[in-house]
């Protein structure tokens, strides 16, 4: 009923050009649904379609994640000062410094905003590395099967048992702590679960009709893997990628806490570690240690929620057999 009415009114707008502008405004303000219909109708932009895609993600997680992403991409907009600018040390929160200052007089809010980029970069870069390795190993062992599969999966199982964080601690202690070694080490050591998931999915897909027909037509294995199998792995990879990012961020924060982070690149983990080792706790400065910790938690949670949401939706799709063929 409502929609019909709206369309009727819309058609009247197009006829009467005199009152057009004012009525159009009224319609836009009246109802969000009408507004979307209006957009779809007039400038060929169907928001509803995008919305349907958006629903596949967890809304809250997506919202938080966007916030942190903007923070990371455009820190200048949010940070009141430069993170290296010095003021009076150990200041309590005030209007000039919303979260006070730390032991060497840096504004904590600015540090926090600039830290977003570093923490998220470590997470995403190492997740990229591990996803790539996992994808390669899983794809090859799932597609070729046989001895190669046994070898690669055996290797995966062997690596899976080695405790990651103690190994990273040793590597971090031997190598000079820098953000790139951290990314590399985290990325190189967390691909096993991705490889397993990709393998099982590949085993499933390679029996599908389109892969068989591609093989009959004589396409090379590499081509089949790249253009037939990979696109279908994407929805398994995305949640895994998100979860890998989340766990890499936690690992980074933990390693920074041990003093194995890159001190020149102040991530949230390093802020927290400094607050612990340089007297933020003893002086009871909650504005120093709480914000970075909460930021890590929220950011990791937003990323993990997106991953979980996507995974859940995929499971539902799988039950209904949407992506079976």
């Amino acid at each position: 009923m409502m929609q019909e009415e709206a369309y009727v009114r819309e058609s009247t707008i197009q006829e009467s050009t005199i009152q057009g502008n004012t009525i159009r405004k009224n319609i836009i303000q009246e109802n969000a649904r009408q507004w979307k219909g209006f957009l779809a109708h007039n400038i060929n932009l169907d928001i509803r379609r995008y919305e349907r895609n958006l629903k596949r993600f967890n809304r809250g997680g997506l919202f938080l994640f966007t916030f942190f992403l903007i923070l990371a991409l455009l820190p200048v907009l949010f940070a009141p000062y430069s993170p290296t600018e010095r003021f009076m040390p150990y200041e309590a929160p005030s209007t000039a410094h919303l979260l006070g200052t730390n032991d060497i007089g840096n504004d904590i809010l600015s540090e926090l905003v600039y830290g977003a980029r570093i923490s998220m970069m470590v997470g995403f870069a190492s997740a990229c590395i591990s996803t790539l390795i996992g994808l390669m190993i899983g794809l090859f062992s799932g597609y070729f099967r046989g001895t190669l599969d046994e070898l690669l999966m055996g290797f995966t199982d062997v690596v899976l048992i080695i405790p990651k964080i103690p190994l990273i601690i040793i590597l971090g202690a031997f190598l000079r702590p820098s953000i790139w070694t951290l990314i590399l080490v985290l990325g190189l050591l967390s691909w096993e679960s991705i490889a397993r998931v990709v393998r099982s999915k590949t085993l499933q897909i390679r029996e599908a009709g389109y892969v068989k027909s591609a093989r009959c037509m004589g396409f090379s294995s590499v081509h089949i893997m790249a253009s037939d199998i990979f696109p279908n792995l994407f929805h398994v990879l995305l949640p895994k990628f998100m979860l890998a990012t989340a766990s890499a961020m936690i690992s980074e924060a933990s390693l920074s806490f041990l003093g194995l982070g890159d001190i020149s690149m102040k991530s949230w983990g390093i802020m927290l570690s400094f607050a612990f080792s340089r007297g933020g706790f003893i002086r009871d400065m909650w504005w120093w240690y709480l914000p970075p910790g909460i930021c890590i938690t929220l950011c990791v949670m937003s990323i993990a929620l997106i991953g979980f949401g996507f995974e859940g939706k995929e499971k539902e799709n799988g039950k209904r057999g949407v992506d079976a063929e």
Binding site: P166, A173, A253, G259, L260, V300
Partner: protein
């Protein structure tokens, strides 16, 4: 039988990889290998340095060094810490008992708590309390363990003064130990529960849709007995796998918790070793932790066979 053999090979390979890593790291890393083997920032005179260089046999071929290293390991000789002036094996022996106690108690508690709550949350996922629990545990699993520990320390030990904030005990009585361990164990148990909770919840949601659950209901069983007598058995299988794979992760979480609570276990040992660049201690700790994780995985494999008859008698 073939599966069993595969597993044995796999564990042997893991063991070999761990030992090799431990052997290769100080020799591969940039810098003087002697420095890497005894640790930086140590004051040793030139004469001692030369003596060590000769004694370690770094000029010999690699395989000879490797066999010598294996021999040392078999004699439980993990090297000598020039920072703490005692053999690494002795230092580790003092510390590991406490850490294992700490990890063991909290993992057991966490698993019990996480499994039970998770099973209940999966059984009735739509009630408000269970949704709340789910949100809470997701948040917990996304918090770095040491941040949680810091918060607890701040609130319960500093602000409210309910618990002591450092050490395992004042006087070595069970009461004092329990009092000191309460906070760290709670933190670790919550942390491990959060991971078990999420897995268990998903697994129960999946299992309760199976036909045997429907049949149990058709027989007229109460809700609780369907859950606890039928569903939970099948649903807890992923937990066993997770427990083994997670053991390393939880162990590292325990290290951080120990550092925050100044417990004299492996965590603080590693922390001090990192600050002092005491490589022998770091290596020894890595070896011991890796072996503990390996053992936990083997144990889980055995448990899995006990819990799931389908694994024992493959069709």
């Amino acid at each position: 039988m073939r599966e069993g053999l595969k597993k044995v090979v796999r564990y042997a390979a893991s063991f070999f990889l761990i030992v090799t890593l431990n052997f290769a790291l100080p020799r591969l890393m940039p810098g003087d290998p002697v420095k890497n083997l005894i640790g930086e920032d140590v004051y040793v005179s030139e004469g001692v340095m030369e003596e060590l260089r000769a004694g370690m046999g770094l000029d010999r071929p690699l395989y000879e060094q490797f066999t010598a290293y294996i021999g040392d390991l078999l004699r439980l000789d993990l090297g000598y810490s020039y920072h703490l002036h005692s053999p690494v094996a002795d230092i580790l022996r003092d510390r590991i008992g406490w850490t294992l106690l700490f990890v063991g108690v909290s993992v057991l508690l966490g698993t019990a708590l996480g499994t039970l709550l998770g099973a209940y949350a999966g059984w009735k996922p739509e009630t408000k309390a269970n949704r709340l629990a789910c949100c809470g545990f997701i948040t917990l699993s996304c918090t770095p363990p040491y941040f949680l520990a810091l918060l607890c320390l701040e609130i319960f030990a500093f602000k409210l003064g309910l618990f002591p904030f450092k050490g395992f005990y004042d006087v070595p009585t069970p009461g004092s130990i329990a009092h000191h361990m309460f906070l760290p164990v709670t933190v670790m148990a919550l942390f491990s529960a959060s991971r078990n909770f999420l897995i268990m919840r998903g697994s129960v949601i999946q299992e309760k849709g199976q036909l045997y659950a429907l049949y149990a209901r058709a027989k007229g069983l109460y809700d609780t007995s369907i859950l606890f007598r039928h569903v939970i058995k099948n649903a807890s299988l992923p937990i066993i796998t997770l427990l083994a794979l997670d053991f390393g992760f939880l162990f590292s979480g325990a290290l951080f918790t120990e550092i925050v609570f100044s417990l004299n276990g492996m965590g603080t040992l590693i922390y001090d070793a990192i600050i002092g660049k005491d490589y022998p201690v770091l290596q020894g700790s890595f070896l011991v932790i890796a072996l503990a994780v390996l053992l936990a995985n083997m144990l889980a494999d055995l448990l899995y066979e006990v819990a799931d008859p389908r694994v024992r008698r493959p069709a």
